[in-house]
Symmetry: C2
Subunit: 349 residues, 2 copies
């Protein structure tokens, strides 16, 4: 307890403004649109001729992350990625973030430094500037609130609402990995809790672990769309699971869809882990979430442009709203209504 | 417990997206700069020819507010006000906010509605649009993260860094009320805790209570500066106490100052409450914080323009940095170094 107090005093002596100076000392402004960053009442941004997009996400300890098996550096990186992913879903370019933290007395200065190491790494990777934030205490646990700001020309922006019947439904990358990575971490954590001499068995699962612990936003897709000469008619990022996101597009666009099970392929680690815990990998893709891939629609006439791209899979097509939002099982045997069973943060187990 | 679960289930059944729809149903976009608000991955904003200012603040239960005596509606209003205040401190016009909430299972749907009632009231009062956010759970307590966005012409913006030696130091309104309102609430809460039959004695203190519970950002000052034909050389809002804010201006501008005790006058309720708890009201002004008035500097030559305005008091002047940041006590008897003893959220009592 005395030691804990000593560690906290280190933070208290630094104070809020000292801490802000410390964690933002290495910030070098990279974007022309950032006129001034940290250090005044507001950041000042400049977007001549552009539209500005804004998104925000809040992560809370014990709900979104478990610090027993999530390294703070990864957490910082992920908190940025999940917001950048929303900017990508608008087909915009991320430029700035603000980061607010509420920390409880269990956090040391070293822990805060580690968290910010991940935040700065993400800023470097995505080319965004950390321009503001707030640092305060909480009675328990860690809360991270990130706001991301980006830009695009008006005609580049892609909304959820533009899908048309007959449009192709496409997805980037592969799905289910983040959810199965989490299942692996929780399984090994539980085994460790029951018997602390047991070492976690994580080898051979690096892909699904990285999908869970260090998700990457698809900032590459904007350029890929440009190169392919394709502009999605609608787009959303996959944070809550494929089912939930498909239904968002259907609802916003006033359309239905057919999603074909056999069009989804899975990484071998996803297949292996799904088998180990006795679920169909399809369920992880549909309901798992946190993959941060992009789900989008394109006109049927654009099929040729995307069908051979290694990062894009056509997984179905849109229909009229009256035809419903349906999953067509392998071999076309069944048509099942797509239901949003993704993560509901307001639901208790 | 069964009842508590039933109430929470009400929220869980609504789900995150249902809750977002419910609390944003009444949102009507008021600003031309808001192209699209809630309902996509990002809000889309448009600021042709303007600079964009962004600020964020995080409030946590038990640290920034005590729900025993802070009504949720007031809390929602205040969470918006404290961010709008930062926009005012840049001499900009507030336009949009995002609101993220983490709520624990003790909160009912009615409680969330009440919180949003205050948020919507503030949006109406300040003319800002609620354009996004995130709603999730926390293991304990309530966390509110607000980001505010505003606009100004480049030449209108006022930074902390523009104060010059010989500039006059000015403040809007009066200080110390918010801190003494908090002391009153805490005193009555403590009496009630010791003896629940004792009714809180709050009558005659409406001013300091409203200063604490429902602070107003000084959105009026931008127009007042315009009417007076004055542009501050530096400005900051008073969230952490006058001492702390003066030192921020001194540090950012590379200047010193003389603050004259006798220039500060106090509301009678501030004087009365300070007397009751045995402190000098000056201490409440210097170190109390949360008054959300504006502290600014103007060239000495502008003295005539501001000296008769009822909302502005000249409380000192700037000096060279070498002359230090000093408080001149009443009658000019002493010159004491100004020290930031304002609220440090990282310090435990």
């Amino acid at each position: 307890m005395a030691q804990e107090n000593a560690k906290w005093n280190e933070l208290a002596e630094l104070g809020e403004f000292g801490l802000i100076k410390r964690v933002t000392a290495q910030v070098k402004i990279k974007n022309e649109s950032t006129l001034t960053g940290v250090g005044d009442d507001c950041a000042v941004l400049n977007y001549p001729g552009k539209k500005v997009v804004v998104t925000t996400d809040l992560l809370t300890e014990g709900v979104h992350f478990n610090l027993i098996y999530v390294p703070l550096k990864h957490l910082g990186y992920k908190a940025v990625s999940v917001n950048i992913s929303d900017i990508c879903a608008m087909n915009a370019i991320p430029r700035q973030i603000t980061v607010s933290l509420a920390i409880s007395s269990k956090f040391t200065l070293a822990a805060i430094d580690e968290l910010y190491e991940g935040i700065h790494l993400a800023c470097a990777h995505y080319g965004v500037d950390l321009v503001g934030g707030d640092t305060t205490t909480s009675l328990t646990g860690l809360t991270i609130s990130v706001t991301a700001i980006g830009e695009a020309d008006a005609e580049e922006l892609v909304y959820r609402s533009g899908a048309k019947p007959t449009d192709l439904l496409c997805v980037t990358g592969d799905l289910g990995g983040a959810y199965l990575g989490l299942q692996l971490l929780e399984r090994e954590n539980e085994l460790f809790r029951l018997n602390p001499t047991v070492q976690p068995q994580l080898s051979g699962y690096d892909y699904i672990l990285s999908r869970q612990l260090k998700p990457e936003a698809r900032t590459d897709m904007r350029d890929i769309f440009g190169t392919l000469g394709v502009k999605p008619t609608s787009m959303i990022d996959i944070s809550d699971g494929l089912s939930s996101e498909i239904l968002h597009i259907c609802e916003s666009s006033g359309v239905g869809c057919r999603l074909y099970e056999e069009r989804l392929s899975f990484d071998p680690q996803v297949q292996k882990m799904a088998e180990e815990i006795g679920i169909n990998p399809l369920v992880a893709a549909l309901n798992g979430g946190e993959d941060y891939e992009l789900l989008f629609t394109i006109p049927l006439t654009e099929h040729e442009k995307v069908c051979n791209h290694p990062d894009i899979t056509v997984i179905g097509h849109m229909t009229t709203q009256e035809q419903g939002a349906l999953l067509v099982t392998a071999g076309g045997l069944q048509e099942l209504p797509i239901q949003a069973q993704g993560w509901n943060p307001l639901k208790r187990d």
